[in-house]
C-alpha cells in the first residue's frame, strides 16, 4: 500500500516538476520575445504569432498609471465577422512597468484583424493587422557544428522550426566570430537547414549562433532570438605550399650567398681555422739561413721524391718530419739574410733537426765524383757571390758561416721577407719566399740570364730579388762543373725549392731537370732513411 502511494506521489511530483520546468522555460521564452518586440515594434498592442493558429498581444504601461487587468478590454474583429473579446492578464515587468497580455488560441489568417483596447471604456490602442505577417518564431534548435574536412571551413546545421506550409518562406541568419572576438560575420541562408562557413582561419575556435525569420510573400514576421552560441575549432592548417616554397628559395639564396662569401674569404678563414705555425725567425734574427743544396747524382730518385712530394699540399712542420727521415743533403752554401745574430743562438727546433742528422754527416760527403770534379772554384764562387750581392739590398754578414760548421743538413728557415714580390698565390702566405741562389758553371752572361730566367720561371714568386750569399768557413770542396743548383727556403713549416738550373748541361744525360715549382715539406720524411735526396737534372 505505502509503496503504491509513494509511487503515485513520485509520479505526480515528476509531472508537476516537468510542467513547472516547461512553464518556466516557456515564460523565459516569452520574456525574451516580449523584450524583442518591445525593441522592434512601434505599434501598440504588440502582437506576435508563434504557430499556425495562435496570437499573443501585449502592451506596456507604467506602474503608477497602471490599473488592474479587468479595467482593460481587448476587442478583436475579423473582416466580415462579429467582434470578440479576449481576456486580459497582467504581469509585472522590469523597470517599473506592467505588461498586459491577451492570447488567442484560434486565429484566421489572410484576413484583416481589427484590435481595439479599452481601459474603462476608453480606447487606448487601435490596430489592424494580418496575423500571418507577425510571426515571431522560437530560435532554431539543435545547432551543431561539424568539420567538412577542408581547411578553414565549418558546417553548421540545425533543425528548422516545425511549421507547415512555411518552409519556402523560412530564412536564417548565421553569425560567426572567433571565440573571444566581438567582430563577426553574418550570413543569410534561405529555406535550408545547413550552411558551410568558408574563409575561416585554421586551428581557431569559432562561436556560431543562428536566428530564424519568416520572410515570404505569404508569411512574414520578426527575427527570432539568437540561439546559444556553439563553439567549434577548425582543423589545424597545413603549411601553405606557397610559404614553404618561398622559405626554401630564400634559404637557398642565403646559403649560396654565405658560400660565396666563404669562398671569397677562404684564405682568411683557413688562416683562422688552421693557422700556420708561427715561425720564430722574427724573434731570432739572423739565426735562420737559407741553404743551397746541390744535386749529387743524376737519379730518377728525384722522381720518387717528387712522387712523395705531390702527396699532399698541407703544411706540416718540416722539422718534425726531418727528424724522422733525415736525408743526406749536401749543403753547398748558406745564406743568411737577416741581421747578424750570435751563431750559437740556433732555434731549438733547428738544433734538434741538426742533431738528428749528424749521423748523416758522412753521407753528405758522398758526392758524385763526376760532379764534384766539375766544380769550379773561386771564379765561380766569386761570380756567384757577385751576382747575388748585386741584387741584395742588405749585405749579408759573412760571419754567419759558422753555422755550417757541423756539416749537417740544416733545416733552414728563411727569414727574408719577399718584399715587393707578388703575394703567394695560395694559402701559404706565411711561407717565406725562396731565395734565389745558384751557382753556375757557365759564363757570367749565361748565369745572369739564368738568374733572370730563374727568377722569371719561379711561378710562385717566391724568388726574392734580394739575397745574400755567404760561404761558410768550412766550405765544401768544389763540386765540378756539372752542378745544378736549386734554392731551398725552409720556413720551418715548409721547404720551398726554387726551380733548378743546371750549370752543366752536358753532364745532364741521365736525369731530367725538373723545373716545376714544388714545395717539399713532406718528401724528406717519406723517404726511407739513408736515401739521399737527389735532385735530378
Amino acid at each position: 500500500m505505502t509503496n503504491d502511494n509513494l509511487t503515485k506521489l513520485l509520479v505526480f511530483c515528476v509531472l508537476f516538476c516537468a510542467q513547472k520546468t516547461s512553464i518556466v522555460h516557456g515564460s523565459q521564452a516569452l520574456e525574451t520575445k516580449v523584450a524583442l518586440l518591445l525593441h522592434v515594434e512601434p505599434e501598440n498592442p504588440k502582437c506576435f504569432a508563434e504557430g499556425m493558429s495562435d496570437l499573443t498581444c501585449f502592451w506596456e504601461e507604467d506602474e503608477e498609471r497602471a490599473g488592474s487587468a479587468d479595467q482593460y478590454s481587448f476587442i478583436y474583429t475579423y473582416q466580415n465577422e462579429n467582434s470578440s473579446e479576449c481576456a486580459v492578464t497582467a504581469l509585472p515587468a522590469a523597470g517599473g512597468k506592467r505588461l498586459y497580455f491577451c492570447r488567442l488560441s484560434r486565429t484566421q489568417l489572410f484576413v484583416p484583424l481589427d484590435i481595439r483596447v479599452f481601459r474603462d471604456d476608453l480606447l487606448i490602442h487601435n490596430r489592424s493587422l494580418f496575423i500571418e505577417v507577425v510571426f515571431l518564431l522560437d530560435p532554431p534548435s539543435n545547432l551543431t557544428l561539424t568539420s567538412t574536412g577542408t581547411q578553414g571551413q565549418l558546417k553548421a546545421s540545425w533543425l528548422p522550426p516545425s511549421l507547415k506550409y512555411m518552409g519556402d518562406s523560412m530564412m536564417y541568419e548565421v553569425s560567426y566570430a572567433m571565440a573571444g572576438s566581438h567582430i563577426g560575420k553574418v550570413e543569410e541562408v534561405q529555406a535550408s537547414s545547413e550552411l558551410i562557413l568558408r574563409g575561416l582561419q585554421s586551428g581557431t575556435k569559432y562561436k556560431v549562433r543562428i536566428r530564424a525569420k519568416l520572410d515570404g510573400i505569404s508569411y512574414s514576421g520578426y527575427w527570432s532570438a539568437w540561439t546559444d552560441p556553439v563553439l567549434m575549432e577548425t582543423i589545424p592548417g597545413d603549411l601553405d605550399p606557397l610559404i614553404v616554397s618561398l622559405s626554401l628559395i630564400i634559404s637557398l639564396v642565403l646559403t649560396l650567398l654565405s658560400l660565396i662569401v666563404l669562398m671569397s674569404h677562404r684564405r682568411f678563414l683557413l688562416k683562422k681555422i688552421w693557422p700556420i705555425i708561427p715561425t720564430p725567425e722574427s724573434k731570432f734574427q739572423g739565426l735562420f739561413k737559407v741553404y743551397v743544396f746541390v744535386s749529387l747524382e743524376y737519379e730518377t730518385r728525384y722522381e720518387e721524391w717528387l712522387g712523395h712530394s705531390t702527396g699532399g699540399l698541407w703544411l706540416r712542420p718540416a722539422y718534425f718530419y726531418s727528424e724522422e727521415f733525415p736525408a743526406p743533403l749536401e749543403v753547398l752554401s748558406e745564406v743568411s739574410l737577416g741581421p747578424a745574430l750570435p751563431s750559437s743562438a740556433l732555434p731549438p727546433k733547428a738544433s734538434e733537426a741538426l742533431g738528428e742528422e749528424e749521423d748523416e754527416d758522412k753521407k753528405l760527403k758522398r758526392v758524385d765524383s763526376a760532379l764534384m770534379e766539375g766544380w769550379r772554384e773561386t771564379p765561380q764562387e766569386h761570380w756567384l757571390m757577385d751576382q747575388l750581392q748585386s741584387i741584395h739590398q742588405h749585405p749579408a754578414p759573412r760571419t754567419q758561416s759558422s753555422l755550417l760548421e757541423s756539416h749537417d743538413a740544416y733545416v733552414t728557415l728563411n727569414s727574408q721577407n719577399h718584399s715587393g714580390e707578388e703575394p703567394l698565390d695560395d694559402i701559404l702566405e706565411e711561407t717565406l719566399p725562396l731565395q734565389v741562389l745558384f751557382a753556375s758553371g757557365r759564363t757570367s752572361s749565361e748565369s745572369r740570364s739564368d738568374l733572370g730566367s730563374l727568377q722569371q720561371s719561379s711561378g710562385s714568386g717566391r724568388l726574392s730579388s734580394q739575397s745574400s750569399f755567404e760561404y761558410p768557413n768550412h766550405t765544401w770542396p768544389p763540386k765540378g762543373s756539372g752542378y745544378t743548383y736549386m734554392a731551398v727556403a725552409d720556413s720551418g713549416v715548409s721547404m720551398d725549392y726554387s726551380p733548378m738550373s743546371s750549370s752543366k748541361i752536358d753532364d745532364i744525360g741521365k736525369g731530367v731537370i725538373y723545373t716545376n715549382e714544388y714545395k717539399n715539406e713532406i718528401p724528406a720524411h717519406r723517404r726511407p732513411i739513408g736515401t739521399p735526396i737527389h735532385f735530378a737534372f
Binding site: M52, L109, P112, F130, E132, K164, S218
Partner: protein
C-alpha cells in the same frame, strides 16, 4: 469518337507547374493594383455589391478538409474574383487602373492554367449564375475587392499550390 480525338486543348496533358514563384509574381502584381486603386481617388465605389470569396484560413479547419474540397474552394473563389474584377473594369475610367485590372484578370486566368496543370478540377458555376454560400461575402468598394483578390491569392491559392501531391512526389 472522332470528335473526342479532335477536342482541342483539353486532351493535352500539361506539365505540372510547381514553381511557386509564378504565384508570387501574380500576388505582387495584385498588390500593385490594390495600391494603385487606393491611390486613385475617383471611382472607388462599385455600382452594386459583388460577391467575393472568403479569404480567411483557419488552419485547423483547412487541414480537416480534403484535397477536393480545398480545390473546389479555390476554384470557385477564383471564378468569383474573375467575375467581380471583370465588372470593375467597366466602372473604372482611369487608364492606369485599367492596365492593373487587365493584369489581374490575366493573372487569374494564368492561375487557372497552373491549377489545371496540377490536375485540379475546374469549377463549374451553378446554373443560377450567382454562387453563394458560406465561403462568400459581398463587397461594395473597388479597393476592398482588390484587397480580397490579394489575400485570396496569398492564402488559399498559395496553400493549395504549395501542398499539391503532384509537386511533392519527388521530394517527400
Amino acid at each position: 469518337m472522332l470528335l473526342e480525338w479532335t477536342k482541342p486543348g483539353l486532351s493535352n496533358p500539361l506539365r505540372p507547374i510547381c514553381d511557386l514563384r509564378v504565384l508570387k509574381h501574380f500576388i505582387e502584381e495584385a498588390r500593385d493594383a490594390e495600391a494603385a486603386m487606393l491611390a486613385c481617388k475617383e471611382g472607388r465605389g462599385l455600382p452594386e455589391p459583388v460577391t467575393v470569396p472568403q479569404t480567411k484560413v483557419d488552419f485547423n479547419v483547412w487541414e480537416r478538409k480534403n484535397a477536393l474540397e480545398q480545390a473546389q474552394e479555390v476554384q470557385s473563389g477564383l471564378w468569383l474574383l474573375n467575375q467581380a474584377i471583370g465588372s470593375l473594369r467597366a466602372t473604372v475610367t482611369n487608364t492606369a487602373l485599367h492596365s492593373h485590372i487587365d493584369n489581374s484578370l490575366r493573372n487569374i486566368f494564368s492561375i487557372g492554367q497552373v491549377l489545371r496543370s496540377l490536375n485540379i478540377q475546374e469549377y463549374t458555376p451553378p446554373a443560377g449564375g450567382v454562387a453563394g454560400g458560406e465561403e462568400t461575402w459581398r463587397v461594395s468598394s473597388a479597393s476592398e475587392l482588390l484587397q480580397v483578390h490579394v489575400n485570396f491569392l496569398r492564402g488559399k491559392v498559395h496553400l493549395l499550390l504549395s501542398n499539391t501531391p503532384v509537386c511533392h512526389q519527388g521530394s517527400s
